[in-house]
Chain length 137, copies 2
DNA sequence: CTGTTTTACGAGCAACGTAACTATT
DNA sequence: AATAGTTACGTTGCTCGTAAAACAG
């Protein structure tokens, strides 16, 4: 499996078209990025850039890899975001108040499925006989 | 950015529902996988598994992250495959023989675009005055 | 005592930055 | 001389496995 960081370096390199600029974008030194590219090429078994007298030129292979690499990076980022977002909902308590017993009975199947989907959120179903008692909570 | 390896560990953990089994699937020790999961949880700021008396239970956050993680892993894998596949085509020489000058003239715009798309593949256009000469090549 | 996960710790490896080197203009 | 990239090298941090510890049945 490829290292995500090297793919990140490649994408920056393809975007910037220069090792120096790509390194600057990623806030790292040129040699470090150069190393990552070399490691990726070793992994792929093919060069991703053509070494010219002045600068580099991205190869077809480099562009092809970068294409999928963007997808991988975006997905990894979404994974982290999804985790944080769901995580913020954990430990929360959802308090649902209803005045009518009938209403509560109707809610049960809905809440059961909800609980299945988000088992880590605690559900509290509160029943009251009058609206007055509800506002006290 | 999350580490791809930790996402790999999480996916295995979600699939297997056990640290021990997941570690076995990935051919690594339980402590190593446990570490990766802990590191991922530090990154996410939320637990991905609930520690029970006997084994673990994946949380909603864990499932959510694993979902996107699969996408990231697949994309990363495709990126490498794409690189290797294109790389194998590099250095290749495509020799196109045509007997008629007219045909060659028609081919030029097509080949030009082809060259733009795959600049690393060398194109040789060979013209012959008779079919006999072509088969000699 | 068995099974499962975590903690501790040491070894190996990979990523990084600084510095030196190469090559081209 | 100046610019762009690579190589060399030492340090830091990460990943891993073995061993030991916590915890529950």
């Amino acid at each position: 499996m490829a290292i995500l960081r090297s793919l990140e370096c490649l994408v920056a390199l393809v975007d910037e078209g220069s090792v120096t600029k790509a390194a600057a974008v990623l806030h790292m030194s040129q040699p470090a990025l150069s190393h990552q590219i070399a490691a990726l090429e070793r992994e792929l078994g093919t060069p991703v850039v053509e070494r010219l007298a002045r600068g580099v030129r991205v190869t077809a292979a480099g562009r092809a890899v970068a294409e999928e690499a963007r997808v991988a990076l975006a997905a990894a980022s979404r994974a982290v975001q999804a985790g944080r977002r769901v995580g913020e909902g954990l430990g929360r308590r959802l308090r649902i108040a209803c005045a009518e017993t009938m209403t509560a009975w109707l809610l049960v199947p809905v809440l059961r499925r909800w609980q299945t989907r988000w088992p880590d959120v605690r559900l509290d179903l509160l029943e009251f006989t009058s609206a007055d008692r509800m506002v006290e909570q």
